[in-house]
Symmetry: C2
Subunit: 199 residues, 2 copies
DNA sequence: CAATAAACGGACCGCGCGGTCAACTTGCTA
DNA sequence: TAGCAAGTTGACCGCGCGGTCCGTTTATTG
């Protein structure tokens, strides 16, 4: 029973400031910005950061958890869209758009992350599987790709554009479109390797 | 005029040992293994490592340079293959296969790297452009993708599989096949964003 | 085989990191 | 508005990193 009494007003505000600062800092400069920089950006002391998040990883986990949950909500809403193929594309668009900029990828090895994150991630993965199954049944996706494939390919558009120096902010759409065309049944060539069991 | 006299026999051997150890270590444990670990793996002192490579980045650059050059050789040989579409696929296969495991990506911002690496990379990129142009003229690749697109997508198969915990070593082939299907003209949908000028 | 320059190695240095703590400030409540 | 728990802070700690340096070892060569 962790009956958490409500945060004091200033503490709640500072927590939000820290999360916002961290999200921006991670996005702009990658996952190894120092906690000192994050605290400075939030206009707070380093000690305050560690009062709210025991560890740098916990801070990251809190951000990632929010994003995964938000993404899962979008996915679930799309589960009963009229056009399952369009719904899957829309989901992938939302996913790439949300975690634009640098990575923050949620596809990390289990051990590295908080149990809450792992749980949320698995739920989101289940949603993706459903979206893919529906799209496949509807003939919008080739028969030989699985939910696991789509999960793995989900981050690729952002990854790919992260290497072009002054990329326009929506360049990723181009690569999502190419990859999505690769998922379509028309003109599909047989795949040389079975899908992974994992995600 | 840097008239470099030949290395002493043991020094030459140790240089090779260091390059091999670094390549393995980078591949297995990522780019931020310590130089101490690399030296230990090579069975040499840390000082020796720094005698051969002034900086950790120089060591990385030496490895990357080798790979880029090797890849460029493969690409140039494929330039007059009978089937330009198959040649492009073969090139991408060689690229992914060579730099399997962890990243070592050669698509980094210019400033980060040695001038030699940048030169080699640009040459390799020109080869890719030629391979793509030939494949496009031959109808093996959709008309709206460019060499720059292919360069960006080149590393995606390895990236994507790097997230599955105990991935079979050739799982990347599956995602290369999917992406390559996305590059084909059959069933291509118009792309939502112009290609980047950059690479 | 002696002489010598080249190569080696590991103790050492300074830095910046994630994380701690005790003195101080502040919002809440009775 | 007094009292106090909750919250804040920045100096501080230990660590491991990339990189240096110099006493020692070794391949080469006349």
């Amino acid at each position: 029973m962790t009956s958490t009494r409500p945060l004091r007003a200033d503490a709640a505000r500072n927590r939000r400031l820290l999360l916002a600062a961290a999200a921006e800092e991670f996005a702009e400069r990658g996952l190894d910005v120092s906690v000192a920089d994050i605290a400075r950006r939030a206009g707070l002391g380093k000690g305050t950061l560690f009062r709210h998040f025991a560890t740098k990883d916990d801070l990251l986990a809190a951000i990632v958890l929010d994003r995964i949950d938000a993404l899962n909500v979008v996915g679930e809403q799309l589960l009963d869209a009229a056009d399952p193929g369009a719904a899957l594309l829309e989901f992938l668009t939302a996913a790439a758009d949300q975690q634009r900029q640098r990575d923050l990828s949620f596809l990390q090895e289990a051990g590295e992350l908080n149990a809450d994150v792992i749980r949320a991630r698995e739920q989101m993965f289940r949603t993706v599987h459903k979206l893919v199954d529906r799209a496949r049944e509807h003939g919008a996706v080739r028969v030989d790709v699985t939910g696991a494939d789509v999960i793995l390919l989900m981050c690729a558009p952002n990854y790919v554009t992260s290497y072009v120096p002054d990329a326009p902010p929506d360049l990723w759409q181009r690569y999502l479109a190419i990859i999505f065309d690769g998922l379509r049944p028309e003109g599909a060539h047989p795949l040389p390797h079975p899908p992974p069991a994992a995600p």
